[in-house]
Symmetry: C2
Subunit: 277 residues, 2 copies
């Protein structure tokens, strides 16, 4: 272990990574719930999105991100990318000696707890849907649950383009939701950190489709999981201390800050560009 | 130079790369026009798209692709990605000892030749638009030309999602075209290799917007440029010989072959996965 890591494990940061900036929705929730914690965020913007890539490539990228963050002396690693959680969480858990939390497990637990009829809808990237990760995790928690999932690859680019209201996102959301809703789901899980930004459109289309499904995203349940680990392992930071957020990205493209602000809900501290391979 | 390169320069392959599979629209045109040539194609699917990344990152990726292809013993390198052409062509031309052709110059020449009123519309990725590369190249050819460009970042994901007709692409295309068309352009240049797949929707929206602008893509003019270089340098392959296409990709994600078929206009020979960094 490096000499310049915080000596007291409780003072070490929580590392969070995502393929891009979507994971900042998880960071926002963590900052709200644990204002004394130090958070280090990495967005792999030089290779975003992960959702369209092969499992092999996603695993490689997830390890690149994790290795970069682990060198910061973490006490806990949060995989805020659904695709990376779906394809790499087992490998990361096995290979790292700190706790690793993925959004898939967090989201699956929320869905199972909140669905009453056991029919659960999942909207996610192509990679996450094809991996079957939500079906597996929900099945482990509640074998009788029925999962209806649909890939919604256009929603990430819509959010990144800033088209988060109006006709185009409404039509796209409707098209993705219809096959899920007709299966009488009472819960809709947003299986990608970008989708909460489209929440208004999603709520409206559910009304239009006469569905009463409750919408959940994994940011809240991820914060629950983080809280549980901090307590269980007694590694929470002294609440009298002030928390912090350090942001890194593998690329700093045009209109980067605007998008980061959309996800975090406020202007982030400056991002530092890093090379992680 | 490696010993296993073709001894006769005329028998050496033409290398073509793109961020993903869009460059196969250029390959299709090259195969039609030069059926005796050997073509080696590389799609950087592990890092597609380039259009949303910083110039620095795009240049790095373009060099990774070029270095891989050059090792195949090329006689000519074609940069079929507009974003890479916009941001890396000068660097590639300077650093390589074979001719390098980029789609930006090819498209700019077509546009200048075909526009009568000198008002030229360009639809391209954010990266290409921000680079100002089309404005520069068109300006060099015809200083009096007026270029009206608009970034259309949603069109690549629409094509990759297979949404190439219907309401959603029509609305997106309309929204991107309106600011261009109101400037009375008589020519619309499709500044991304993905866009020709949306040609029907684009033609229809031009009619709806009461525009008579002629639509050109760079595949045809790129084939003209290739023909000129083959003649000038006397490096064309004997036309009695049969050509070939070797395809490589840095990732082989789900539904890859389907998309490749869409761009090439027929099922491609098998793609080989390669690691280029």
């Amino acid at each position: 272990m490096s000499d310049n890591f915080e000596k007291d494990i409780n003072d070490r940061p929580i590392g969070v990574f995502d393929s891009g900036l979507g994971g900042l929705t998880v960071v926002a929730e963590l900052m709200k719930r644990f204002p004394s914690e130090k958070i280090v965020y990495l967005g792999d913007n030089a290779r975003v999105p992960y959702g369209t890539r092969s499992p092999e490539t996603v695993r490689k990228y997830a390890w690149n991100c994790s290795n970069f963050l682990v060198k910061k002396g973490l006490k806990l690693l949060v995989v805020a990318c659904n695709t990376a959680s779906a394809m790499a969480i087992d490998s990361l858990e096995e290979g790292l000696d700190i706790p690793v939390l993925g959004v898939i497990k967090a989201g699956a637990r929320s869905a199972v707890n909140m669905s009453r009829n056991g029919k659960i809808g999942v909207l996610a990237t192509g990679g996450t849907v094809n991996s079957g990760a939500y079906i597996k995790e929900i099945g482990l928690l509640k074998p009788s649950a029925r999962v209806v999932q649909n890939a919604a690859p256009l929603l990430v680019p819509l959010v990144e383009e800033g088209w988060i209201e109006g006709e185009v996102p409404a039509l796209a959301v409707k098209r993705y939701l219809e096959p899920i809703i007709k299966n009488d789901v009472d819960l809709l899980l947003l299986g990608c950190t970008h989708y909460p930004i489209l929440r208004k459109v999603i709520d409206q289309e559910l009304i239009n489709l006469k569905s009463k499904a409750v919408v959940v995203d994994s940011a809240t349940s991820m914060a629950d999981d983080v809280g549980n680990i901090l307590n269980e392992k007694n590694i929470a930071r002294d609440t009298s201390k002030e928390g912090s957020l350090d942001c890194y990205s593998t690329d700093l493209p045009f209109s980067f800050e605007e998008l980061a602000t959309l996800f975090l809900g406020k202007k982030p501290s400056s991002f530092q560009k890093v090379d992680i391979i």
